[in-house]
């Protein structure tokens, strides 16, 4: 039996299997969001991003988000997978997704998953530019 929830912190994200992982005979819709490294931030060229985590706590927080979403939207399956380490431009850094009977639920749940992850999960992102590095969101 496949788990209803997949919660993972990994070194490298493979996006090719995510729809198979979320597929379910009771689902008519699957919505997935992938966050990737963008070349420019506020006009400055990003060389790479580095992600760090407090893994034990991050897994707990991700699991809470997934459980809340499963309950609120009656999801059939849910995935939250975040990468850590150094990521180059275009590389995927996070995948969140949900499957549900109808599309309203999986769209709303998918948005909730990524929005809440960004607010509560202890993962930190350092932007590496040509001449400096910046911890994102650290300062007002």
């Amino acid at each position: 039996m496949v788990d209803k929830k997949v919660i993972e912190i990994v070194d490298r994200i493979d996006t090719s299997q995510v729809f198979s992982e979320l597929s379910d005979a009771q689902s008519g819709g699957i919505c997935v969001f992938v966050g990737t490294v963008r070349e420019f931030t506020q006009g400055e060229e990003v060389v790479s991003l580095e992600f760090e985590t407090y893994k034990k706590m991050a897994i707990k927080e991700m699991d809470k988000i997934a459980s809340d979403a499963v309950e609120k939207w009656s999801l059939n399956k849910v995935i939250i997978r975040h990468a850590i380490g150094l990521k180059k431009v275009e590389e995927p850094v996070v995948v969140v997704g949900a499957s549900s009977a109808h599309r309203d639920a999986c769209f709303e749940a998918c948005r909730y998953l990524i929005d809440t992850l960004k607010e509560t999960v202890p993962i930190w992102k350092k932007e590496m530019f040509e001449n400096k590095t910046v911890w994102v969101s650290a300062h007002p």
Binding site: M57, W135, A138
Partner: protein, 80 residues
């Protein structure tokens, strides 16, 4: 008492852990820990937010700290 440091907190302190060894200086609550680190490292006062986790759960200011707890400073998160 050991306090885990991540992200910019690690950079501010220059270590991945803070050690409180002298018993009279061990913080007894989340709020006391926050005050102590902000006094020693004023850079913490410039952050967007500052949270503390006790046993890998976010902890309110009034939560007491015990030597056996796993304690961590949680600077502003930025995953995703």
């Amino acid at each position: 008492m050991e306090v885990l440091l991540f992200g910019i907190a690690k950079d501010i302190v220059g270590e991945s852990q803070l050690q409180f060894t002298e018993s009279d200086k061990v913080p007894s609550s989340v709020s006391e820990l926050k005050r102590m680190i902000s006094e020693t490292y004023p850079e913490f006062g410039k952050l967007t937010s500052l949270a503390v986790a006790v046993n890998s759960e976010y902890a309110e200011d009034n939560v007491p700290l015990d030597r056996n707890d796993e304690i961590a400073i949680i600077p502003p998160v930025s995953g995703g």
